[in-house]
Symmetry: C2
Subunit: 278 residues, 2 copies
């Protein structure tokens, strides 16, 4: 596999770079962004925090809005932000152009149903194909952490919990914590995974956390988030952690909403949390 440079910007002494590549797994061309901290220019290899974005986002939102590069530069950590779905001509989309299914809404699962299965293999893309590319082309160690927002918080939690050997810590902002019980999750899982509810369970953070585990997890949730009650359901995650004794640090943040203004406020604490556990 090869990667093709799209753009490059110096930022906090390091480099924000975007790349395109043909994905054998997703059968389309994908883009991702990477931030390389200044120590990389001195020949040092660095750990990676993978960031999974929410509905409608691309690789750009986090890199432009979170203000994460400042802290990554200081900590000597790389950031990688993939797109949120397969893209391009011929890739299936919701027939009504809904924001919460199809393009921009891959939900970090491997679709088994038509018309999605040929391209929507975002779980394997995040777990395997993308890290292989990153570890082939950039000076990174094998140390990985995973974080994300909303749909991407769901992605970070489920992928991290299912792959404890691959990630040293997990964090999330406003994650969809119990997708099998909320409208966003039911719509997406029904479309991508079909009627088999057992398959859904394998991609539900609360179900997975109830099974126990040891990787440290930090979650921030704004109390003024419009999606809190109907879609995000952090209390399900809290209950799951209590039942299994999982080391979950769930912090409810008064006054904060679902936006990047919330993420920007707390991203420093998330990156320091991940850096501690590398």
């Amino acid at each position: 596999m090869s990667i093709e440079s799209v753009s490059s910007n110096k930022c906090f002494g390091g480099w924000h770079k975007r790349y395109a590549h043909e994905s054998d797994l997703l059968n389309c061309k994908m883009q991702f962004a990477v931030y390389l901290p200044p120590v990389v220019s001195e020949g040092k290899s660095v750990p990676v925090v993978y960031w999974l974005s929410g509905l409608t986002c691309t690789d750009e939102n986090f890199m432009q809005k979170a203000g994460a590069q400042r802290i990554a530069a200081e900590l000597g950590v790389a950031l990688v932000a993939p797109d949120t779905s397969p893209r391009g001509e011929g890739v299936a989309d919701d027939e009504n152009g809904a924001y919460d299914l199809g393009l921009g809404a891959g939900f970090y699962v491997n679709a088994t149903e038509e018309p999605w299965a040929r391209h929507y293999q975002m779980y394997d893309y995040i777990v395997s194909e993308l890290p292989s590319l990153i570890e082939q082309y950039f000076p990174v160690t094998g140390q990985r952490a995973i974080s994300g927002h909303s749909m991407g918080g769901h992605g970070a939690l489920t992928i991290g919990l299912k792959n404890p050997g691959r990630y040293s810590s997990i964090s999330a902002f406003s994650p969809i914590s119990n997708p099998v019980n909320c409208p966003w999750g039911q719509k997406a899982f029904g479309a991508y995974l079909g009627d088999d509810k057992d398959a859904w369970q394998e991609h539900d953070a609360s179900v997975l956390m109830a099974r126990g585990g040891k990787i440290p997890v930090l979650v921030d949730q704004g109390e003024s988030d419009n999606f809190l009650t109907d879609q995000l359901m952090p209390q399900a995650l809290q209950q799951a952690a209590q039942s299994s004794g999982y080391p979950l640090d769930l912090r409810m943040q008064p006054g904060y909403d679902h936006s990047y203004f919330f993420i920007a406020t707390f991203i420093e604490e998330h990156l320091r949390f991940h850096a501690e556990h590398f």
Copy 2:
């Protein structure tokens, strides 16, 4: 004059808020953004840094991409980001929809020519109408500083230099430093101000700086900025400062480009510079 709330987001313990108002001066409805640091909730009044954005921007770009709220929260400074031109139905635009004239390209002058004069009075809007609104509706002191990027760097420099009693310090990123001698400036000034080149001089930072003055000015310019040679011309500003003994700190920054990744890297130093001079 009244203002109408558009949105509100908690950010670094303070509040990012957007407002709309009918502008008597611009004869249209305008929007602006304000960031109020946490000390405002404790009843404290704070100084204001006005931020003027570049071509194509609205009140949103700076607030979403610069990461300035973190430092403003720490320093106890408010940030105000206006739009870059009048807006709305009936407001003249370039007939070809060019990005560098008309909507999103007010250039911070008072237009005297048709079809622009009725709405394009951005100089007076920034100097008078907007601060009057801010000082009426928000708990701010009379202390003001002004900063901006590209076209907005031109705006910050020219407005600050022409109004030394109103601003305690001026800063700019990648300003259009000598608009009377570059294509962007010539196109905009020709359209808005007509053929009278004397009128142009009154809105050229290098011309104004050559006349001398005392307000501290900080300018950052990326050396890898695509617009450096043809449009920005910081050397004209440097020469003007040398000829008049103006206290200009112009810093050329190797490797940085024209993007918000550059602004985000150095905005902390700009805000600390302004805070020192309040």
